[in-house]
Subunit: 254 residues, 2 copies
């Protein structure tokens, strides 16, 4: 993946969160937001995310659907030593290859564990689909892997972040996606028409309106502009602020 990005091509990605603990509500996922922000930095467009359970047929079918649809697939979760950690074998199944002992992964485990502690469960973690390349884990050693355009990472946020930070510089993307936020103290319904008119004039930007509750009561609206052209963003953000001011509001440029 070291060659350069094709000019003008938009690189796309999907995040696949694997784990019953997310679908049960036990665990609040934070990996999606982390990956999303990182992809924006390297100009890769995150088009979709899915959360699926620890079910092998579901994992394999979903990986196969997504890896043909997007340039990159990033999975999180299911690469530990316990019976519910089945991502590696399911990704192997998706690619129609065997899940085999990876000598590099084995060497990492041999450096960490005494031979008598390198039990069956831990040896399972040394298996990757045939043709996979390891993704280093500087936090707790046990590596993830990449098989073609599918990046298989841990579920524990600190480990996942370290793995993703490692692969991020190797991704082919485009100019970073930048954003400007105009804070707005008027209700969405008051600014909607003006905002829509600005969006119509800036088709190359993505303008969103995100209301939230203020701590002290009432609403606050963040008008967020995203795009790859700094000058166009500044121009449009200026227009949004002027529009809010023209309606009697006090816009803030964040």
């Amino acid at each position: 993946m070291s060659d350069t990005a094709a000019p003008g091509k938009i690189y796309t990605a999907c995040v696949l969160v694997i784990g019953n603990e997310i679908l049960s509500g036990r665990t609040q996922d934070t990996n999606l937001a982390y990956i999303a922000q990182g992809l924006a930095q390297v100009g890769v467009v995150l088009k979709e995310a899915r959360v699926i359970p620890d079910v092998c047929d579901t994992i394999a079918a979903t990986v196969n659907e997504l890896r043909t649809k997007y340039d990159y697939v990033f999975t999180t979760g299911g690469i530990g030593p316990t019976h519910d950690d089945i991502t590696a074998e399911c990704v192997a199944k998706a690619f129609g290859v065997k899940n085999v002992l990876n000598p590099e992964a084995l060497a990492i485990f041999q450096a960490v564990f005494k031979p008598e502690d390198l039990n069956e469960a831990r040896l399972r973690m040394c298996h990757t689909p045939e043709g996979a390349v390891l993704i280093p884990n500087p936090v707790s050693r046990a590596p993830g892997f990449r098989k073609e355009n599918v990046y298989v990472m841990a579920g524990i946020p600190r480990v996942m972040q370290a793995m993703f930070d490692g692969v991020k510089p190797t991704l082919k993307g485009g100019p970073p996606v930048l954003s400007r936020t105009v804070g707005c103290d008027l209700p969405e319904g008051a600014v909607a028409q003006g905002l829509s008119a600005i969006q119509d004039r800036y088709r190359d930007l993505d303008i969103g309106s995100y209301p939230a509750f203020r701590r002290g009561g009432g609403f606050w609206v963040s008008l967020v502009l995203r795009g790859r052209d700094r000058d166009r963003l500044d121009l449009a953000a200026g227009e949004v602020a002027a529009m809010v001011k023209g309606l009697g509001g006090n816009p803030t440029l964040e």
Copy 2:
């Protein structure tokens, strides 16, 4: 939806998070975990979640795929007054019906806004797909709606929660999904074999192993058992704790 659940039937659901702000990493979604926990309480199995952008064809196609696949689809986001709020018209498109002025929604807005403030943007929020039933919004009034098995709710967590809490008692489900957690101070690799053996004996339960970093350093593992039968859960949790103890650990039953 007031009739009773079919005996023995497993009711399934999917959450569909709609919004560019989640895929850009600007906003950390918390609605999925809230809905997941609520569904477990009423015995509905959450099988999948997806996050998709504010793109009408994508929204319509995804709604159509999911509403035939699952008993319930819960969408969040995209029902405000701004140009990026397109969920209602896309759900209408999915069902092949018109997005029409809803007299009940209009009455709610007429009670909130003076006629001169009931502008085009706010009137858009009074439109729902033909045949839709409103979902009340006790927080900020503007309602969501249900069209057949698709529940369309707001993206703002406090509003979404109020909407979901309102519809939750009307859902057909099964016995609540209960859980037991055994805290474990041994590494996953040490307990994996024993845990797998217990899972094999309790096929009706879903046993997961979730490591996390301790604040003070090192790992902590939560061994989580989920199922609908309280006695079986207690029995299995006891076995898990005994297994951890047998390996020299100090299990805690949470």
